[in-house]
Amino acid sequence: MGRYLLRRIVSLAPTLVIVSLLIFTLIHLIPGDPARVMLGDRATEQDVERLREELGFDRPLYIQYINWVKGIFRGDFGRSVFIRESMVDIIGSHMAPTIVLTFYALLIAVAAAIPLGIIAAGRHNEAAGNLIEIFAMAGVSIPSFLLGLLMIIVFAVKLRWFPAAGYKTIDEVGFWPHLRYMHMPAAALGCMQAGFLIRMTRASVLEVLSSDYIRLVHAKGLDDFRIIFKHVLRNALIPIVTTLGQSLMLLLSGAAVVESVFNIPGIGQLIIHAVARRDYEIIQAVVLLATIINVAVGLTVDVLYAIIDPRVRLE
């Protein structure tokens, strides 16, 4: 297990190098100039030049890249030209709501999807199974921003159960009130993944149910409970765990949309503003962070995969 982990981590290094290079070049290919944005319309060409020099944007791109990478190894993720805070603070404060939103949405999706998927598989071709499938199909089809708006109308405006939009941190109001702002956004965000996961779980469970080894455990005289929860579920979980990593990443990127519907100051809002102002350093830092998260999620999934499936661990 230790060697497997080490091998996986080493193989991640090239990914990070390539992605960081790509981010860097692509961002600098976007037309626009932060110095010009900072100084406004009436600045002279000379003022702009001077500021570019000051910020180091006049140097060759590869030097800028090397300096950036050097900085990262020193723990310096660059400095925003517009927000006078350290990069760690900027990203940290915007990341918190996004992380809460994403994991809450994943929790909702998984908690709904796995039991429903199992029921849908057990009762396929029956009314209950068909109903769940329709529900899953609907979940996959409705865009999260639309669902979010509908939820605001129903649960916030009409029923007044939850606040319509906005965000309060845990420090400001405490855990449960904080979560009250998150119920609707997380449900709106998680719905699509719930739909995917229901269908995934159903297909996976059905496949395992028709396998020879399940027929054998029936022939061994095991009771249905043991068969479902020991043999069927653990085998069916293997492909689902792999999907969970993808789900998490999709939720993270989908969070930007839901954040703007519910006006949550998350990473999505941060990056939209940064792109508009050509705030290179923030964009770079956020994209790099996203890459690292992606890679970390991938690694976690691989480890989980190895824990569930001995064939991966030992081969």
């Binding site: 071709n125 022939a219 005289g221 064939r311």
Partner: protein, 333 residues
């Protein structure tokens, strides 16, 4: 007849009477078995022979009621095991019989062992309750079962996963599981088909030995007549969900009474004598259960078929001694 139901000494332990099975599928109802009757006596090894899709596996799986009964299958007929009709048992009574008095081994031991559990986990599921009282007792019992089927270093093997073992070893493990609660009837569904020839012989020898030593009744489902001739006393030949011939293995091989059996026997490649131009094969393919025509089910592929064969359906009729066949032209070829 009812008096014979009870499994008195000398009576059959398994008595299948007029078993018909229909599967409900998305494409309509399929007749999979039609009036299958067979008996198995204690200590007897009976072969169930036929091409793929003829209903051999369906027959033995219905003895354990392994079909999806909630929606898939409709049974008709009776399956008496030790005097009780298993088709009338409750789910929990059925569960007690499965893996207890009746055990089963499958064709492909790779796909029939759960890939993600150690042999130990899977074998312990079959260990009887009284051996399970202590953990070491259960392990010792499991290890002794592995030794019984000829596996060396059983304690090491218990810690392994199925994918770490060879095909022959896995099939031995599957047999060990089947034997764990001392079944009186073993249903072997093509147990050697997925194995090398040398391993095949070892596994068949093991089954044969257990059958002799433990007095276990065995139904061997196979399409390999060579295996049948070496191991079984009696054979039933199935075609399209019907028994077409029942005979002692010697009679079946020496003077097959049904054209289909004749075809099967002729299809065995001969090692001695001149090499034939081409190997013998029965013409055509097994039709799907939905495509069954009236008359004899084998008639469309039969080289001896008369007009009558396509019109009237023959019954199983005695030929000689204990041999019987489902053909209008018994003794004519």
């Amino acid at each position: 007849m009812t008096a014979e139901n009870s499994a008195g000494p000398g009576g059959p332990m398994l008595d299948i009477r007029g078993l018909s099975i229909r599967f409900k599928t998305d494409y309509g109802v399929l007749d999979v078995l039609d009036g299958v009757s067979m008996r198995v006596f204690p200590g007897e090894m009976t072969a169930l022979v036929g091409e793929s899709g003829c209903g051999k596996s369906v027959t033995i799986q219905s003895v354990m009621r392994l079909h999806d009964e909630k929606r898939q299958v409709v049974y008709d007929g009776e399956i008496f095991f030790k005097g009780r009709d298993v088709l009338k048992l409750t789910r929990s009574e059925m569960r007690a019989i499965r893996g207890g008095e009746i055990a089963m081994i499958f064709q492909d031991s790779f796909s029939s062992l759960d890939p993600i559990f150690r042999i130990e986990d899977q074998l312990l599921e079959c260990v009887p309750e009284d051996a399970k009282r202590t953990q070491s007792g259960a392990r010792d019992y499991a290890a002794s079962m592995l030794e019984r089927v000829g596996i060396n270093e059983p304690y090491l093997r218990l810690r392994q996963y199925p994918f770490e073992m060879s095909g022959g070893m896995r099939q031995r493990v599957a047999i060990a599981m089947a034997l764990s609660r001392g079944p009186s009837l073993l249903l072997a569904d093509e147990p050697t088909t997925a194995l090398d020839v040398t391993i095949q012989a070892q596994v068949m020898e093991l089954i044969r030995e257990l059958n002799r030593d433990l007095g276990m009744g065995v139904i061997l489902v196979t399409h390999d007549l060579a295996v049948v001739s070496e191991t079984c006393e009696r054979a039933l030949v199935m075609y399209l969900g019907q028994i077409v011939e029942e005979a002692s293995v010697g009679d079946m091989l020496d003077r097959p009474a049904h054209p289909y059996t004749l075809g099967l026997v002729r299809s065995i490649p001969q090692l001695e004598g001149p090499k034939p131009e081409r190997l013998y094969a029965i013409e055509g393919m097994v039709p799907l259960p939905g495509q069954i025509t009236r008359g004899c089910r084998f008639a469309p592929r039969c080289r001896y078929a008369l007009p009558r064969c396509c019109e009237e359906t023959p019954e199983l009729r005695p030929v000689q001694g204990s041999q019987s066949a489902r053909c209008w032209r018994i003794g004519e070829f």
